[in-house]
Symmetry: C3
Subunit: 188 residues, 3 copies
């Protein structure tokens, strides 16, 4: 095989190996590189019966004995919250929003603070138009938690990846801010 | 390299490039072609306290102050609805169903009509046997909304894609019909 | 083309064809082989007002007229349950847990026992560290039901696949045990 012949084969080989697909047989490739990265913040203000004007989320489900304006005892186990939270580029609640985080979380343990998330980022700015869909477990007390990016639309058409969530701030049981580091490993 | 040698390389190149995988580095390929397309309708009749015989869905969560037979004020913010809706091939509620749309939606904004969806199409007809799983944001007032197909089983084994949703009809707060244009970009 | 030249091309061809990606044009490949398989059990004990110490799940949503300690009439239609269930390697509730199944299920039919699931396996053992995220329809009365693995983190980074669920045992309306056969077809 002459050196003239090797070039296209190497190229093809590279395209197959280093793409985002799995390798047959399930061998892991370590050190994947994201094809797109975003860092965004979102801000959740839970309705507590007194903050209707500012609240961005509301308790809509609760276990027996609990109510819909006070988070339940036992690590809020069974509280389900629907939210429509502003997304910002930095950690300032009053920065101009670039979209909305819309979805659901619920606290799912009686023994520790842990939640489960299913939501979308609905982005609508000069930089990004489209949605990113997330699901996953959120063990709140860990400094970082990884959830799945299961799909996307618009600029994020068919995206998949991992989002690393950090609690950037919280104030009692009313406000919290999450930092979300999105790393997409499948881009179309 | 002789012309005899070029053919298989071109073929391999085509298989890698034009497949549904991401291209390393995240370069976008525009004009993807779906590997499977379906257009289906589903019909939702919300329980309002009087229509138990016909209702296909029920409010199961509501914010403080709301109840489970009347959709809440403020754009129904916080209402969560569980559904088991007939799927039809055309826009007629009384056409023979080809399956059931089963899942959840909830209204997640105090400022506009917008919802979030997580559901499955459970198809059981001569044409299709299997399930398709969807999640995504549904800003109702937009003519079309894109959500993610995050997986499938049976005939839709491992499918991924985009579903474009249109409100095909609605009657007050009791009935609505959605047209769902499913475009799969990953077929196995 | 000499035989020396054929080998790398065949290899590349194999890598492209037999990978986990879709083939352009949507042709199905039958008989896929999983890249990873796991069989796990999880155990759900629903709170019924009397078993607070043992319960691992709680009803947090119910249709009009129902309550949060007794599963609703009409096939539990509209009951939504949040859970944090132990995962074991065998069918014994008292085996050492290898993680927690955390998420949500709800009953979504008035006409038969059927549910919808969205949850994570949060695995934390010497064998596995990471999460697996699932969504899908669960028609309880079928012997086996297939749902989607839509993503994963840690050891299950970016995983996709199918989980086949079987009701391994149940006791009245308080306890059930599910066997979950996880077959991943995309491994990274």
């Amino acid at each position: 095989m002459s050196s003239k012949n090797i070039a296209p084969i190497i190229l093809v080989f590279f395209l197959c190996i280093s793409g985002s697909s799995a390798i047959p047989g399930g061998k892991k490739i370590k050190y994947h590189k994201p094809c797109k990265e975003l860092v965004l913040y979102f801000h959740d203000i839970v309705y507590n019966g007194k903050n209707a004007d500012n609240a961005t989320s509301a308790i809509v489900g609760a276990p027996e004995g609990a109510n819909l304006t006070i988070l339940a005892a036992h690590y809020h186990f069974g509280n389900m919250v629907v939210f429509d939270d502003p997304i910002t580029l930095d950690n300032n609640l009053h920065s101009p929003p670039v979209g909305r985080a819309q979805g659901l979380y619920f606290y799912d343990s009686k023994a520790e603070f842990t939640a489960w998330l299913a939501f979308s980022f609905v982005l609508n700015s000069t930089d990004h138009q489209g949605t990113i869909n997330f699901v996953g477990a959120d063990p709140l007390m860990h400094k970082t938690r990884d959830i799945s990016v299961v799909g996307g639309t618009g600029d994020f058409f068919m995206a998949r990846g991992i989002a690393t969530i950090m609690t950037d701030a919280f104030e009692g049981e009313v406000y919290f801010r999450l930092r979300v580091d999105i790393k997409l490993y499948e881009c179309w």
